[in-house]
């Protein structure tokens, strides 16, 4: 009898392609995505974009930049990338334009090598006479500044042998030369200073660990003095709340939109669709009505989610109303059109459920709804640009994280609107099957 029950269930599963897809394709798809992102299936380490401004232009600073360029996990920009091959080269970054670029999200980190760096490239701290390299960073990316700071020290050790030797000579002459009594005394004094510096570093680390993360401070962990400063998000109380409000919001918007658009399939099954289309309602009007409703529903969902973020997680919603409204409507429109397309392509609710689950989870994983895209390999980051999630999250990040004006949202708005229109037009074409035959 148990065998009979198993046999009946197997036959039913075989006939239910939607359930089959969910049972086998979805886990494989997810496994592949996560393996690619975290398992090093291709290019394991995500490359970090770093803007470098060499104000010194000394031999030492140039060697340091060359050393950084050799780091495979970094992509260095000394000037904004050209929009196309024939475009006129952009002028080099300055300290101001580099900071603006980090604020705009073009790169998570910028390094400013100050004038005079070549005079004292190796310095044991800010008081040692060397110039500090400024590390400007975006707080939303907590990994990139740490990596860049470490690689900077590595580059200094390996890329500046002449500077290191010169500095070594200076230090030898300064601390050891002659070894006279007076020199010994001098060395003792300097050693004390170094010890004092060590203590100061320890104190700094303790205060950073125990206190609030101000996002800036002296990074004295190496032979090059680095002063890091957060230029984006330094005043945010809950750095990741706005990111996750958008990221999770978009994912569930996609689910809601596809479910809501599925009412078309319910109406098809009940015969209501036939009845409606036999009245004065045309297919285009019907789909446009559904799209409008689904857009409104998705936008209201976003409002509720962000209000919750404001009430519970101190998300600064009311200072960003214009940007939120623009991004909210565009995102809602795009996800609503996506839902309409899925519903018009599927024959049954079961198919819609399987297909939407498959697509939405994949889109959400590579589009940044589950974890930030900057953690992903570059190829996956590029693939993420084909998702609604990525563009919506980028737009909301611009609004809530970077405090950019509405005018700065034009790339995200354009993409979301164009995608929404395109998906709706495809959905309209697919819906011809419901029209008179």
């Amino acid at each position: 009898m148990i065998f009979n029950i198993v046999r009946t269930a197997l036959i039913a599963l075989k006939r239910d392609r939607a359930a089959l897809a969910l049972s086998f394709i979805l886990p494989i798809a997810f496994f592949s995505i996560f393996a690619t992102i975290f398992g090093g299936a291709h290019d394991s380490t995500p490359k970090i974009k770093v803007i470098v401004v060499d104000q010194d232009q000394s031999r030492a600073s140039k060697e340091l930049v060359k050393g950084l360029e050799r780091e495979s996990s970094l992509i260095l920009y000394t000037r904004p990338p050209a929009e196309n091959k024939n475009a006129k080269p952009q002028p080099d970054y300055t300290a101001a334009t580099a900071e603006a670029a980090v604020k705009a999200g073009d790169a998570p980190v910028a390094l400013i090598i100050p004038q005079g760096f070549g005079q004292h490239p190796v310095a044991f701290g800010p008081d040692a006479g060397g110039s500090e390299i400024q590390l400007l960073n975006d707080q939303s990316d907590m990994i990139a500044p740490q990596m860049v700071a470490g690689l900077l020290q590595k580059a200094a050790m390996t890329a500046m042998p002449a500077a290191m030797a010169e500095q070594g000579m200076k230090y030898t002459d300064k601390y050891i030369g002659g070894l006279t009594e007076a020199q010994r005394k001098q060395m003792g004094v300097n050693l004390k200073e170094l010890q004092q510096l060590e203590d100061e570093r320890d104190a700094d680390r303790k205060s950073e660990a125990g206190g609030s993360d101000s996002g800036s401070g002296f990074d004295g962990g190496g032979i090059i003095a680095v002063k890091s400063r957060a230029v984006v998000g330094e005043n945010k109380r809950s750095p990741m709340v706005s990111f996750y409000a958008a990221a999770i919001g978009v994912m569930f918007l996609l689910f809601t939109a596809s479910g809501s658009a599925g009412s078309l399939l319910d109406e098809q099954d009940s015969g209501a669709l036939d009845r409606v289309l036999s009245s004065r309602v045309t297919m285009t009007k019907l789909l446009a009505g559904k799209l409008t409703y689904n857009t409104m529903l998705a936008f209201v969902q976003l409002i509720v989610m962000f209000l919750w973020g404001w009430a519970v997680f101190k998300l600064d919603l009311f200072s960003h109303i214009p940007g939120f409204v623009v991004m909210g409507i565009c995102t809602a429109f795009a996800v609503a059109a996506f839902g309409m397309l899925l519903a018009s392509l599927c024959q049954t609710r079961a198919q819609l459920g399987a297909l939407s689950t498959l697509l939405i989870l994949i889109m959400s994983s590579i589009g940044g709804s589950m974890f930030p895209r900057y953690l992903m390999p570059e190829s996956i980051q590029k693939a993420g640009l084909f998702t609604i999630n990525a563009w919506a999250i980028d737009g909301f990040t611009k609004v809530f994280w970077r405090d950019l004006p509405v005018s700065a949202l034009w790339p995200q708005v354009s993409v979301l609107v164009v995608v929404g229109v395109a998906l709706f037009l495809i959905a309209r074409r697919a819906a011809r099957r419901w029209e008179a035959t």
Binding site: S270, G271, A272, D274, R275, S279, T437
Partner: protein
């Protein structure tokens, strides 16, 4: 597709009553395919509520409608009968614009069936319960009313009229999904006529309802007819067609094979003949041979004969006795619409 206004009108042809070739002997009476001609009377073309002219619909290699011609008169209830898959639903869907004919035309008061004017004049009650389950009765009616272009006071009046007509006034605030089967059927009908059309197409509106609801539905249809509404009524219940319909058209294999009043169809099919049904004990081969010898047919172990004169029964039974058959039961039956239907469409299962 244009209306019929500018169409060159062929000579008038009488619809129906010509579906049979009368051979003079009841036992040999057979159906002969679609009714001849098929176009409507010229004088009524522009005024007729609904004229269907040589309608053909093909789905790939399958011909669902093979040249159907029909005319619906003002205030008339025309029954459309046919086995499953005969083409009834395709015909109805062609009329309401959900199926585009391969050939032929449908005109609603002279206008093309796809025109906005035709949409206003046509009401469709589909066989499915085409309702919004999570909307109340009143909200359903209002929604479909708006889809038909009603608004404001006119919509409110129409909703009120429909609630009264369907005897659902007391359940106006109830969700559609919570209604009984009969109430859902009545709401389904009301949603189809919310815009008060002059022609209503009803596709098996009494499927799955109890006798009380069925009677109520009959009253609703009669009320519509009293207002002059023209109705096409498809059903598998012959007694409904006999009770409600002025005329009946029988469709099979995509063609109208007979049409006329019930009496006309019976007379044409059977003249003054009656049916004899007899059951015997005996060997199956003997019963079969005896039935065949007398031009009858065996249906579920019952021999059926069509006779002109009741005295023929005596001869039949005497011959049966000679063949060694023991009579179990015999009855004489006057043919009805079901007899005509089965006679014309056969007894083979269609699905």
């Amino acid at each position: 597709m244009g209306g019929f206004i500018d169409v060159e009108v062929p000579p008038p042809v009488r619809i129906g009553l010509s579906g049979f070739e009368e051979k003079g002997e009841c036992k040999r009476m057979t159906a002969i395919g679609s009714i001849a001609g098929g176009t409507a009377e010229s004088g009524a073309i522009t005024a007729a509520p609904l004229v269907i002219d040589s309608l053909v619909k093909r789905f790939g290699k399958l011909t669902a409608l093979g040249g159907v011609s029909l005319e619906l008169h003002t205030g008339e209830c025309l029954g459309l009968l046919g086995p499953n898959g005969a083409g009834k639903s395709t015909l109805i869907r062609s009329i309401v614009g959900r199926v585009i004919p391969s050939e032929g035309r449908v005109a609603v008061f002279g206008a093309s069936a796809s025109s906005a004017a035709a949409r206003r004049d046509l009401g469709w009650v589909p066989q499915e319960l085409a309702l919004y389950p999570r909307l109340t009765v009143k909200e359903n009616l209002a929604a479909f009313g708006r889809y038909q272009g009603l608004s404001g006071r006119k919509l409110a009046e129409s909703v009120a009229w429909c609630l009264d007509w369907a005897a659902l006034k007391d359940r106006a605030g109830d969700l559609a999904k919570g209604l009984s089967g009969g109430m859902k059927r009545r709401l389904n009908m009301a949603a189809g006529i919310i815009h008060r059309p002059r022609i209503v197409l009803m596709d098996e509106p009494t499927v799955g309802v109890d006798p009380q609801s069925r009677n109520r539905i009959f009253e609703m249809i009669e009320a519509l007819r009293a207002e002059g509404t023209s109705i096409i009524y498809t059903t598998h219940y012959m007694e409904e067609a006999q009770r409600l319909c002025d005329r009946v058209a029988i469709i099979d294999h995509g063609r109208i094979i007979a049409s006329g009043t019930s009496d006309e169809l019976i007379a044409n099919a059977f003249a003054k003949c009656s049916q004899v049904l007899a059951r015997f004990n005996g060997s199956a081969s003997a019963i079969s041979a005896w039935t065949e010898r007398h031009g009858g047919k065996l249906v579920d172990s019952t021999a059926e004969f069509t006779i002109e004169n009741s005295t023929e029964i005596v001869g039949l039974l005497e011959d049966a006795a000679k063949a060694g058959l023991v009579l179990e039961d015999v009855s004489l039956r006057r043919p009805n619409l079901e007899s005509v239907f089965l006679h014309l469409t056969g007894r083979e299962l269609r699905d």
